[in-house]
């Protein structure tokens, strides 16, 4: 039950041989868990995901130090085709649909990494998770709304039968109701399919609610880690990520002052 699926060991990532983005990041993910990765913009969350999925390479990035062990092989700097074949699929930030393909064709591309193409029951399963997609199956993805697209790209990734699903900001730019729906589905996928998930989110409140474990990143380093329940109780997390005051009351933007309180770990 507590078997390690992924072990990221002290990795450093450098872009174009000059810009160092990650400075010794370690994290471990147990099977069947949702692990949430929190942190400010530019902290290196997306880079961490890309280091795992191998998508650094097309952007001139490289893991220069440390190792990434998936089950029992080191996948640091491996080609993205090989990593996806091992069962790690990343859902990119900003959705990235194939605009000129229909929704169903988009889903079909999801099977690219599989040697044996699944039958129609797989598609049916996706439509079961995302009923909103059924009536859009024949329309071009470019004409779908943000919520539909987010469902489509998660569905597309599910088609690949991932062992480890990397989700980058699935709630970006979505309406509150849709965000709730999507997080509900992510939780269901984790419970019903047993898919292990790493979730990068700005919406810490939602993320910690469905996650089992959490990491906090700042400036290319992990600065805090713990069980999701513990993180939710941590006063710093509450102040800077959840927006709750020490007494449990929700902080309001009405009181935003002209000065900033600094984080104590910086």
């Amino acid at each position: 039950m507590t078997e390690k699926l992924l072990q990221v060991n002290n990795i450093s990532v450098v872009y174009s041989d000059v810009v160092q983005v990650l400075k010794g990041v370690s994290l471990s993910v147990e099977r069947n868990r949702i692990v949430s990765l929190l942190g400010s913009n530019g902290a290196g969350k997306t880079t961490t995901l890309k280091a795992i999925s191998g998508l650094l390479k097309p952007e001139n990035g490289k893991v220069t130090d440390g190792s990434i062990t998936f089950i029992d092989t080191d996948i640091a700097n491996a080609a993205p085709e090989d990593i996806t074949r091992k069962g790690i699929i990343q859902v990119l930030e900003g959705r990235q649909p194939f605009k000129y393909l229909t929704v169903e064709e988009n889903l079909r591309v999801g099977t690219a990494a599989l040697r044996e193409k699944p039958g129609p029951e797989k598609l049916a399963m996706i439509y079961d998770y995302f009923p909103a997609l059924v009536k859009r199956r024949k329309s071009l993805a470019g004409y779908c709304s943000g919520g539909e697209l987010q469902m489509m790209v998660i569905g597309r990734a599910l088609m690949a039968q991932p062992a480890l699903l990397l989700l980058d900001e699935p709630s970006l730019g979505l309406a509150p109701l849709v965000v709730k729906e999507i997080f509900g589905i992510i939780k269901r996928i984790n419970e019903e399919q047993g898919t292990t998930i790493i979730l990068v989110e700005q919406n810490a409140r939602m993320a910690l609610r469905i996650a089992h474990f959490g990491y906090v990143m700042e400036n290319g380093k992990i600065v805090m880690e713990g069980k999701a329940e513990d993180l939710q109780e941590n006063p710093d997390i509450r102040e800077f990520y959840l927006g709750t005051k020490a007494d449990g009351e929700r902080k309001s933007y009405d009181n935003v002052k002209a000065y900033k309180r600094r984080k104590r770990w910086l």
Binding site: S40, G94, L177, Q202, A204, R205, V256
Partner: protein, 275 residues
């Protein structure tokens, strides 16, 4: 509150026109290949007001903004700004009328520095002609310096001093959003339209942005239209909220009224819960 370091008059290139920004949208309808994106929407924005537009994804919020800013041509209805019918104006003409905006998916010039991005937004405020520029007459040089000074003021205001020479493409998401706000401000718009400026930001960045917007509205008396999904921000900043659903206006009112509207709760907010 932090005010302009230098003479605020520097910023008012078009003082004679004043800050009047009355927008009225009447019976606006926009269709895209069979889909009705905006359906008979009527909306008013008064000078000095802070109006938020909320609604589910695909409800037509961005389409509405795109009609107001001239990117889309509505099939029916009219838009007028300060009493002038602007329904069929091009985007660049609307910018001259005083409507400036930011974009949902960030539309900066990634290969240019923050400074160049902001200077570009000064385009309509330049007065020198083509020939003096090509020969770089002293008049052109003086104007370049004048605009540079204005842009530096904005950089100060948005606390971007340390990144002014960085390429925009290399900046993290949250900062890019800030640059985009700066660029919209450099246009000196009377009406500032912001399309999801908080998306993808963490709490801290959101607080910074709220600070800027509050000062823009409170001190600079800008008229602002905001599209945003983060309800706590919307409720805290707006004076009035309009709700769109399936291209139609579902409700309109003060934050208090909207929060208690059962229809809005059902279509958009979902049952409230504490966490």
């Amino acid at each position: 509150m932090k005010a302009f370091r230098a003479d605020p008059e520097l910023f008012r290139s078009r003082r004679e026109q004043g800050d009047r920004a009355d927008l009225s949208v009447d019976g606006l309808t926009l269709r895209f290949g069979g889909v009705v994106a905006v359906n008979d929407v009527t909306l008013r924005v008064r000078t000095g007001e802070f109006l938020s537009v909320i609604g589910p994804n695909g409800a037509g919020k961005t389409s509405l903004l795109n009609c107001i800013t001239g990117y889309y041509r509505p099939q029916e209805g009219s838009i007028s700004f300060n009493g002038r019918n602007v329904t069929h104006m091009h985007t660049h003409e609307l910018v001259r009328e005083g409507i400036g905006r930011t974009f949902q998916n960030i539309e900066l010039f990634p290969g240019m520095s923050v400074l160049s991005n902001l200077l570009l937004a000064r385009h309509i405020h330049y007065r020198y002609g083509f020939l003096p520029a090509a020969l770089f007459f002293p008049s052109a040089r003086r104007e370049e310096v004048r605009h540079r000074r204005i842009v530096e003021e904005l950089i100060d205001f948005l606390e971007m001093q340390s990144i002014r020479h960085r390429l925009v493409g290399s900046l993290p998401y949250g900062l890019r959003k800030r640059v985009e706000l700066g660029r919209a401000l450099a246009l000196e718009p009377k009406l500032l339209i912001l399309d999801e400026p908080f998306a993808g930001m963490n709490l801290e960045e959101k607080e910074d942005m709220v600070r800027f917007l509050r000062e823009l509205h409170g001190e600079w008396k800008r008229t602002i239209v905001l599209v945003e999904h983060d309800m706590s921000i919307v409720m805290s900043l707006s004076e009035r909220i309009a709700v769109l659903n399936f291209g139609e206006k579902l409700a309109e009112g003060t934050p208090g009224e909207i929060q208690d509207d059962p229809e809005v709760t059902r279509a958009y907010l979902g049952p409230s819960e504490e966490g």
